[in-house]
């Protein structure tokens, strides 16, 4: 693992985007891709300078969905922010809940009962399946395969969202986790329903993979495109499937072992070619590992309470201090940084958004490639604007 240290040539500017000279003497064409463009997953803009079809410069422009979420968090109680975390990355509300609950538990030292930890793992991994399947669906959609792969993914997503609805009462805005546990307990019938959905998932993954993996168009358009070198990926703070597709073995579930992840057996897939195809395949493989984790969790889930009996929800005032808690979200490292001054509201409420920080290297990956590939490279980063702009 010392490659990152050695490869750093320590020249100033090694981690900056390269300068690409236009060839020929034509004028550069400046294009604003977005903010309302089907390939940008929402209101996101890229200011691109093109020499013919080649990208010479690319500057992402943020803020169209900015609502100053962090300021809102400072103005309300700790628990009051929990439903707002659902709106960050609205594809994965449960992992957002989890990251926030984990940060507050770090700040106060609350314990989480075993059953609640298992429920968190089951829900977190189901969320990961939903996110990765949809991310692949959107990526292929942007390649021009209109509809079919995305509908394959959304068929499974519907089944999993039905599970979320049965447990939490909402498909997306779940507001489920609490500091020191979870809000409602799962019935045996619900766990049976998870098992039933889980039994179908490997077949779905096979189908999905067979549909896509060997597709000639997909291979031609993604292999060798959007290469991200591992040392730059680490230096630029890229996390999640993006980082592992660049061949860096760093999964916070393994590194921190937060919750009860130490108890589960799963592998961390790594990419070898660091391109868009690897990022697509890593998501497929991670989905399969998630099935295994859910299966183990369903087998081992104990009975018992789902809330720490000492947990205090109203009049909750943590002692002064600060804490940074992070989890391996489906898109990367999702962290919450909280400073308490002893009051009922956090003094500082900061979200570390994986989507925004993964976009740091978008320019580096796109420079020199064709403008049509920009759409694919952008799709392979897998972002949600609710989290980028906060």
């Amino acid at each position: 693992m010392s490659t990152f240290v050695e490869e750093k040539d320590k020249l100033p500017g090694w981690n900056r985007p390269p300068v690409i000279e236009p060839d020929g003497d034509g004028e550069l064409l400046e294009v604003a891709m977005g903010p309302h463009h089907p390939s940008t997953h929402g209101v996101f803009r890229m200011d691109v300078a093109l020499d013919g079809e080649r990208v010479i410069r690319l500057k992402p422009v943020f803020g169209y969905l900015h609502r100053n979420h962090e300021k809102l968090g400072e103005g309300m109680s700790y628990l009051g922010s929990m439903p707002f975390t659902d709106r960050l990355d609205y594809m994965c509300p449960l992992t957002n809940n989890w990251a926030y609950a984990l940060a507050v538990e770090k700040l106060t030292g609350q314990e989480v009962p075993e059953r609640a930890e298992y429920l968190r793992v089951i829900l977190g991994e189901l969320t990961r399946v939903v996110n990765h399947a949809s991310a692949i669906g959107f990526l292929i959609q942007e390649m021009g395969a209109s509809g079919t792969p995305l509908m394959y993914a959304f068929k499974q997503r519907e089944k999993i969202l039905d599970l979320f609805e049965a447990l939490t009462g909402a498909r997306m805005m779940v507001n489920y986790m609490r500091f020191g546990g979870c809000r409602v307990d799962a019935t045996p019938a619900w766990l049976g329903a998870v098992r039933k959905v889980l039994d179908d998932l490997p077949q779905f993954a096979d189908e999905f993979e067979n549909l896509l993996r060997g597709n000639e168009i997909l291979m031609a358009r993604t292999q060798g495109v959007g290469i991200l070198r591992p040392e730059l990926a680490v230096n630029a703070g890229v996390t999640g499937p993006m980082l592992r597709a660049s061949g860096v073995n760093y999964d916070i579930r393994k590194v921190d072992g937060y919750g009860i992840y130490n108890r589960f057996k799963f592998r961390v897939p790594l990419g070898e070619h660091w391109d868009v195809y690897d990022r697509f395949m890593i998501r497929l493989l991670e989905m399969r590992e998630s099935f295994g984790i859910i299966d183990q969790a369903l087998k081992d889930i104990p009975g018992g309470p789902i809330m720490d009996p000492k947990a205090k929800l109203r009049g909750f005032r943590p002692k002064p201090g600060e804490a940074y808690g992070r989890i391996e979200g489906p898109k990367g490292e999702l962290g919450f940084y909280l400073i308490s001054d002893g009051g009922p509201n956090p003094y500082r409420y900061r979200i570390r958004p994986p989507s925004l920080i993964n976009l740091t290297v978008l320019e580096d990956m796109c420079l020199g490639s064709n403008v049509a590939d920009v759409v694919l490279i952008f799709g392979s980063v897998d972002i949600v604007l609710g989290e980028v702009d906060r």
Binding site: M1, P12, F62, G63, H66, E70, T239, G321, A323
Partner: protein, 228 residues
């Protein structure tokens, strides 16, 4: 992993005169931090990244914190000499009185960085830097040349808190639009009545808006004075 004290000693051995101090964290998380002097911050950061044992190659989170001026009142016992008439004659007598003294703790803006190591799989190491004040001396050295992941995050701090990072390759607003003037994450920020406000013939609307604005800023500065 090394404790913060050991890291402090390692930094001081490698970068003479680094001026590092430990900031204890009283919460149970136990994530104590190191405050770097702005003058040596880039050198220290480069050391933290390249040191074989620490190898903090991954800057995860960079953020700002606003600490406004705070008025602290404390009770002090003061002994002074007063002239009193004792037994008909004037004498100098020592007397102890309790006085309430008020002083203002000057505010600052702070940048906080959470570092991890991908190579060694440890962390977090928290480093922080603070500005001299909140108005005109708000410059801090940028750590983007050391860790690229600070690029957008420092732009966000500049945008929302108003810390100016010297040495940042592309310091522009990130989330607010370029013509925007204020820094919304500051504690004393007052939001305008209407972001798209244009003066029109409606004088009374303008007057009402100005009154509300004056009232709001009075409320906010009042709160700041009484601050916790």
């Amino acid at each position: 992993m090394k404790t913060v004290e050991e890291i402090k000693a390692a930094i001081e051995a490698a970068v003479p005169g680094a001026g590092v101090e430990v900031v204890p964290n009283p919460s149970v998380s136990g994530q104590h931090s190191l405050r770097l002097a702005a003058s040596h911050a880039v050198e220290v950061a480069t050391f933290l990244r390249d040191d074989a044992e620490l190898a903090l190659d991954f800057l995860s989170n960079a953020t700002g914190v606003d600490w406004p001026d705070k008025e602290v009142s404390e009770k002090v016992k003061v002994t002074r000499t007063v002239s009193k008439i004792v037994d008909g004659t004037e004498q100098q007598v020592e007397e102890t009185v309790e006085e309430t003294r008020k002083h203002v703790v000057p505010g600052c803006l702070e940048a906080v960085y959470h570092l991890f190591s991908v190579a060694k799989k440890h962390g977090p190491v928290v480093i922080r830097m603070k500005t001299a004040n909140r108005t005109d001396q708000v410059h801090l050295p940028s750590l983007t040349p050391v860790w690229r992941s600070a690029e957008f995050q420092e732009r966000e701090i500049f945008d929302l808190f108003g810390i100016v990072f010297t040495g940042h390759p592309d310091l522009r607003r990130l989330l607010m639009w370029e013509e925007f003037k204020d820094h919304p994450m500051r504690r004393d920020y007052v939001e305008p009545d209407d972001f798209e406000y244009e003066p029109t013939a409606h004088d009374e609307v303008l007057k009402r808006a100005q009154e509300r604005r004056a009232k709001l800023s009075a409320v906010v500065s009042g709160q700041e004075g009484a601050g916790a």
